[in-house]
Symmetry: C2
Subunit: 244 residues, 2 copies
DNA sequence: CGGAACGGTCCCATCATATGGAACAGCCGG
DNA sequence: CCGGCTGTTCCATATGATGGGACCGTTCCG
């Protein structure tokens, strides 16, 4: 498989910018390339609108073209407009943030999120990627896809909090429970102050292609509500949605 | 200004994919490059996750990486998470779609949209670009930026419907009204069956950096509501938001 | 069932083109 | 006013992108 070097490098630069705006020198260091090369890549990307210079001769950041292009990303965009009204409903019912995610390798990619206005908000995870073993949305994917589950279970399972499932047996056991219930919930397994409940979004043939979830600060979510009741709510909402 | 050819070409391919998935041959035709070159570009982009092949040996479409990268597009993302709760409120109050847009050259770029579930929905404009003279959101930008207004007025003003403002005088007159009111509304000026109301989102120094808008099918929006009353509503909501 | 007409991928000789070291220019803070 | 820091430009070099054509798999039609 032959790949084009300069494109590879261009995306390395873009990715590096995704973790925050930076100047030529810093980027050059991050991606381990000569300054001159990075400068050339950046001015090309700038002409294309993929990055923009915050002020002449200053830092670079990701530009509008990426937004434009991402709008055309089918798996994402169509899912987003399809599910957004349901996210609104779900976040209204629970008072917490609702979102969707899709599998990407052994990670979940967070595609969209609706966060009700409130004193204490969970952060916006849109565009972020989290290993499947650490989040309920990942557990959903794994519970309904045995091959994938095996692959993940064999890979390293790094902890994010003291509660992260990091052993094959713990994970297997959880997946079994999730498979039975049809929904997943986790308390402080990924972030120390965040709890989350998830259920699968199915295509017409029954395969789970994406995940619907609700999450909130551990201090008030699920609060005195029964996690299983919430799980059932999320599942019933997810079951209403058919994705193609 | 030296630019890197292959990156240029890669983005040409991506842009072409933005207008719909396609196979190698078709893309090659669209961008006027040899099949083999396009195939190589695509497999590079695929490895990077920028595109994905819907089925082995089949069509290509834009991939998840673009969503990931776009999430880091500062001007967009931070605005989106800041304004989304207000979009929810606005669409709840009006029963119609609410969205935000930012200026991009002489176009407005639609960044986000919340569409309430309903029998008849306006399409999702997220990621699309529309010339400023044709939409109220554009009128807002122009009304509060004289240089930009002059530039746009001097450029061609193509019609999209019979109601589009296509003459300098008509546009100038409209901008005057908009400037006075602090909000803009337009009936069937861009799409024949769509009406829209907009107001500016201001930074702390008072400059208008983005636009908040509400739009709905002409058949029921604004319906028997007074457009000026709606304008005042959108404006009051926009005034609550401070962007940096 | 055969074969033609697509589709996408791969190969490899050719040379256009990306490369990166070094020199340059602009900006700040001391 | 200078030293150290930016980002940008130059240009000789050879790396690496290129594209015509061969190849292979499907589909569609005779």
């Amino acid at each position: 498989m032959t790949t084009v070097q300069s494109i590879d490098r261009a995306f390395a630069v873009l990715r590096s910018l995704a973790s925050g705006p930076a100047g030529v020198s810093e980027i050059a260091e991050r991606v381990a390339l000569p300054k001159s090369t990075v400068s050339r890549l950046l001015s090309t990307l700038e002409e294309l609108g993929a990055v923009e210079q915050v002020s002449a001769g200053g830092e670079y950041r990701i530009g509008w073209t990426m937004i434009e292009l991402s709008a055309a990303a089918r798996p994402g965009r169509s899912l987003i407009s399809l599910t957004r009204p349901h996210l609104a409903e779900l976040s209204r019912l629970t008072g917490e943030a609702a979102g969707i995610s899709i599998p990407d390798g052994t990670d979940m990619l967070y595609l969209d999120q609706l966060t009700p206005d409130s004193e204490l908000k969970v952060r916006d995870w849109t565009g972020h990627r989290i290993p499947m073993h650490a989040v309920p949305s990942g557990h959903i994917m794994l519970a309904f896809n045995d091959q994938l589950a095996e692959r993940v279970i064999k890979s390293p399972l790094p902890p994010f909090t003291p509660h992260t499932l990091t052993t094959a047996t713990a994970l297997r056991q959880r997946l079994k429970v999730v498979r039975g219930a049809g929904y997943a919930w986790a308390l402080r397994e990924f972030a120390p102050e965040m709890n989350s409940v998830a259920a699968g979004l199915r295509a017409t043939d029954g395969t789970v292609l994406a995940v619907l979830h609700v999450y909130g600060p551990a201090s008030r979510f699920p609060g005195d509500r029964d996690p299983d009741e919430l799980g059932a709510l999320v599942k019933s909402m997810a079951d209403k949605i058919r994705i193609d």
